[in-house]
Symmetry: C2
Subunit: 336 residues, 2 copies
């Protein structure tokens, strides 16, 4: 799809990641695309360890590896000096290097020179390499599901991928459409929608999910929340550009405030569903919400079960945890 | 405010503008900042003429001019080859050159070299030169008015400037905050909000309208419409970042479809006001709408008068045309 399709197989660079959270990009790729992952580069002082063989760049290249993925994040999204030698060696070994960090690989002279000398690519998935038209809101063929959320980082990507897996298992024709860094590594392409110029949010989303076969489903990864004052503009443009036939609301029930904003509580689920449906109607008048995907990891099993049951009764909608229960009850609502 | 404050007095470059519409940036600057405008550069084949003396760059510099403003727009926002000599001469005469077009002045080698050689500045107001933090939605001191609209290009900038003028006439402390190209030339600074990276729409707006004296009014120029599927994300981020105490809804009553989208009608005024208030409450719980500013230029005087009267009765809000009636009834609602 994009000019910067990322080629598997991957070598996952975990480097000196402090802990498992710092390596969550790598962990997400491994979880959803184990068949694409050859090995990991882990340094002795690393606080994270993936269930993958340790491997150097030469070994990865010899095993058919195509791309080293920077699978570790840090505050500020910087590329520390200490990584540059490893990344340069990857280019010299014949791998592309891809990163989703804020800092650009191609802003580092040593990497730029090594890429030019070897003919390999530096892929900064956070920074769109193409321009987009403005969105039109015109109807297009195909069916679309968008995950939305009460907040950022409540499991929209995970829910989207679980839905695609379940849909494909039932023989539905479904494609995951990635809008964030980790999702792009998992899909192999996509658009980091929060990084496009503001005028083109809905246009980039329309481009990401073009007209398709009438029975085909695009499952589009949502971003942010209409109720997050930092990012609601992104969420609304994505909602309008996606033209979703159906929404799945994603939620984390133990969160006490909106991510990054200690003074701001989360919206109620019913209120958040209603606001998303109302806004989505602008470009998709028949939109409906088919249920809620809850990340109950912080709850004990019985509390999670009770939460899902009570919430389903309250909303009159299926409520699932993609990890604990799977998403079959959601797919039941579209698989007719 | 910004790193790229534009210095008056201005020389307005109209060049070969086809017609008055193509020169509307220059006309807007002249209307609101006549005292900053020394003269115009108009070529023989120009289809637009401002009420200003013709002047060359040397004359403008001798008269104390500081900046040549590209006051003409064209489809695509390109800077044609034919303008480059004139713009280079302006730099050599000692003027800065400022443009709000999509094409960047500083992407043209001849201009870049002339700017470096003369120490003058190339100012591309459409392209933010600084980065912004993400918005927080935290309350900040000072009072804020935001103009919103049923569509793009319905007179939000004009209404905002008319409101500031009326507020200042009554001794209120009020500042115009520009969010679009023409507005930035009129204010001398501002942020082209639709051109920032999507993640930072509300953050850029918070930066544009910082905490101020509790009685001070910022009058913030709105962009787009919550009901325009191309640009609603920008409008929502602007609404959240502005944290408006009051909204003024702007409307053009003869428009048959949303700008640029022939198949899409405009929202009703009551529906559009309700949706904007509902969305604005996220960061400004006590927000209220103080009235409607209607651009009735396309109506005859009696039809305009009837439209304003009927709409005011229907909505229970003052309805004015900033040009025909002035905005006093709106300012009455805050001047207490």
């Amino acid at each position: 799809m994009s000019a910067t399709t990322i080629q598997p197989p991957y070598l996952l660079f975990v480097g000196d990641a402090r802990d498992a959270l710092a390596a969550k990009t790598a962990a997400g790729i491994l979880h959803w695309r184990r068949e694409w992952c050859l090995g990991q580069v882990v340094w002795p002082d690393c606080g994270a360890e993936l269930d993958l063989p340790g491997m150097n760049v030469a070994e990865a290249a010899a095993a058919g590896g195509r791309t080293l993925i920077v699978g570790v994040a840090n505050a500020g999204g910087v590329i520390p000096e200490s990584w540059v030698t490893s990344l340069t060696e990857a280019l010299r070994a014949g791998l592309d290097v891809a990163s989703g960090l804020h800092d650009r690989l191609d802003a580092i002279p040593a990497l730029r020179e090594a890429a030019a000398a070897t003919g390999r690519r530096l892929i900064d998935v956070r920074h769109p390499t193409r321009s987009f038209g403005v969105g039109t809101g015109e109807p297009r063929s195909g069916r679309r599901l968008l995950t939305v959320g009460t907040d950022c980082s409540v499991g929209k990507m995970y829910a989207s991928l679980a839905l695609v897996e379940e849909m494909q298992r039932r023989g539905l024709d479904a494609t995951f459409r990635a809008t964030g860094q980790t999702g792009i590594f998992i899909a192999g392409d996509g658009v980091s929608v929060d990084a496009v110029v503001a005028d083109f949010i809905s246009g980039a989303t329309e481009w990401l999910s073009p007209a398709s076969d009438p029975e085909h489903w695009d499952v589009i990864e949502g971003q942010g929340s209409l109720f997050h004052p930092s990012f609601a503009g992104v969420s609304l443009g994505l909602l309008h550009g996606a033209q979703p036939d159906v929404l799945v609301m994603c939620h984390e029930p133990t969160r006490t405030h909106m991510r990054g904003l200690p003074n701001r509580g989360l919206p109620g689920l019913a209120e958040c569903i209603a606001a998303n449906l109302e806004a989505a109607k602008l470009t998709s008048p028949a939109v409906r919400c088919i249920g809620v995907a809850v990340n109950t990891r912080a709850l004990a099993a019985d509390a999670a079960e009770r939460y899902l049951r009570d919430t389903a009764a309250e909303l009159g909608l299926p409520c699932v945890d993609p990890v604990r229960t799977g998403v079959a009850p959601l797919v039941d609502r579209i698989d007719r």
